[in-house]
């Protein structure tokens, strides 16, 4: 009866029917211990990155009967957090169990992967009858470089009200895990570079870590208050911090690697603002105020990495020239130049990466 099913659930049921999934019994497919051990080793980064967020999610669910689950990109359970008694008594799927839709019907893990986004299945929306007592939610986790799905975070609870309470926290936790994966990759990639060029890069790295710490603590806070009041504002602010963290991480990579990218359209005013924000802590440590003059968005076509490095050097040079208490104002002078004002002195700086070759 498609008219009774919400759109994503209808699509999931159709997929289950095409795959020949039985609504009465789940096909229990579980990896043997050797294969499971190999999988857990392979996915160690994801599991470690997700651990604190799964605990935060479990805390937010409070005393409700629940399980927070982490799955890999194929829907195989990698980790499970909740009250041990509940998990054993309810028979939640253990690590190594595969919960793809073809085997387990529409469910928080398999359907989230198949849809490529957040899903919620309330009671009888699950394809298999055995799951009808639960409300399950799932959200995919993306790789640091973008769209590729590397896993899925899911929460199963008995009571719908509990599920509603933690919905935003679940989505924010997935953002947090993605930020954690980005951090790990940055640490690994840049270890060598930091050995060689410790100064400016180390400051930037600390700045990015600071933002990540703030996002993680915000989410932790939201999880703790979830059981007694509405945590939505805190959770939203954690998601915003995680997004800013990712933007900064990308900028940091652009600055750290002396390689080139293909020209692409970007907003020069926005990029200038992002770099000023990135260097805000450095400026305040030096007792200098760094501001960007208001300007309409200015679309240019440029190698974003080369342009970021050039702008970064302009700003750091200005920071070096400024004295404690100075205000540095940066503005666009033309589509290929910026204006730097320190106190009463103004200078124009041409940007090579924006000049016609």
């Amino acid at each position: 009866m498609p008219e009774l099913l919400r759109e994503p659930i209808y699509r999931a049921w159709k997929r289950c029917q095409v795959a020949g999934t039985s609504p009465h019994t789940m096909i229990a497919m579980r990896l043997d211990p050797v294969a499971l051990e190999a999988l857990l080793e392979r996915e160690r980064d994801l599991i470690e990155a997700a651990k604190p967020y799964m605990h935060a999610l479990s805390r937010a669910a409070g005393s409700e009967l629940h399980a927070a689950m982490l799955g890999d990109a194929d829907g195989i359970v990698l980790d499970l957090v909740g009250h041990r008694e509940h998990i054993e008594r309810e028979g939640f799927p253990l690590p190594g169990s595969k919960l793809s839709e073809d085997l387990a019907g529409a469910n928080g893990i398999g359907t989230s992967l198949a849809e490529g986004g957040y899903v919620e299945l309330v009671g009888p929306e699950h394809f298999i009858e055995g799951f009808h007592i639960y409300t399950c939610q799932g959200v995919p986790i993306h790789a640091p470089e973008g769209q590729k799905i590397v896993g899925v975070l899911s929460l199963s609870v008995r009571r719908l009200e509990a599920a509603e309470r933690v919905r935003e926290i679940l989505v924010c936790a997935a953002h947090g895990i993605e930020a954690e994966l980005t951090r790990r990759r940055l640490e690994a990639d840049l270890g060598r570079l930091l050995e060689e060029e410790h100064g400016a890069l180390e400051h930037l790295r600390q700045d990015v870590m600071q933002l990540h710490a703030a996002a993680r603590l915000r989410l932790d806070h939201a999880a703790r208050i979830a059981t007694r009041e509405d945590p939505s504002q805190l959770a939203i602010s954690a998601a915003d911090l995680a997004r800013r963290f990712r933007v900064r991480s990308e900028l940091w990579r652009d600055l750290a690697f002396e390689d080139h990218g293909a020209p692409r359209p970007l907003d020069l005013q926005q990029r200038l603002g992002e770099l000023v924000e990135l260097l805000g802590t450095e400026a305040s440590v030096r007792g200098v105020r760094l501001v960007v003059a208001a300007h309409e968005p200015l679309r240019v076509s440029a190698d974003a990495r080369a342009l970021s490095r050039e702008l970064f050097r302009v700003i750091t040079r200005a920071l070096g020239d400024a004295a404690r208490g100075d205000v540095i104002e940066l503005g666009l002078a033309s589509p290929s130049a910026v204006r730097v004002t320190i106190g009463r002195k103004t200078a124009g700086v041409r940007l090579k990466s924006l000049e016609p070759s």
Partner: protein, 124 residues
């Protein structure tokens, strides 16, 4: 611990971190107070006499390390838990004689564990 509800002073210039820590640490039974940099921390320490100070390192006006040196030069031996995103956390802490430290990002449980250890140890 000597007090029923020990006072923890949280010093961080990042308002998100400071606000989250003040709330989170209080959930573990501590009385918490915030300060926004080293200079503010020195004033708050004189006012509230905290049992432990949770101190960020990289802050404007006065860094965490400068704050610790100033405190010790005044003869104040309040236990410090240093928070930092620096890679050489341990070396940094040791260089200013701080025994308890934590690298960012961290979970609140890790921080509370460090606070408890700092409070229960006779050597500060």
């Amino acid at each position: 611990m000597t007090n029923e509800n020990p006072t923890v002073l949280v010093v961080d210039d990042d308002p998100d971190i400071r606000a989250a820590l003040v709330d989170l640490v209080s959930e573990f039974g501590f009385r918490t107070v915030g300060a926004f940099d080293g200079v503010d921390a020195l004033a708050r320490i004189d006012e509230v006499h905290p049992d432990v100070v949770v101190l960020d390192n990289r802050m404007p006006r006065m860094t965490g390390t400068e704050c610790v040196r100033e405190l010790r030069s005044r003869g104040n031996d309040v236990p410090i838990v240093l928070m930092t995103a620096a890679r050489e956390v341990e070396e940094l802490a040791r260089s200013i004689g701080v025994r308890w430290f934590i690298g960012k990002p961290f979970g609140v449980e890790q921080l509370v564990e460090a606070i408890r250890r700092a409070l229960s140890s006779p050597a500060r």
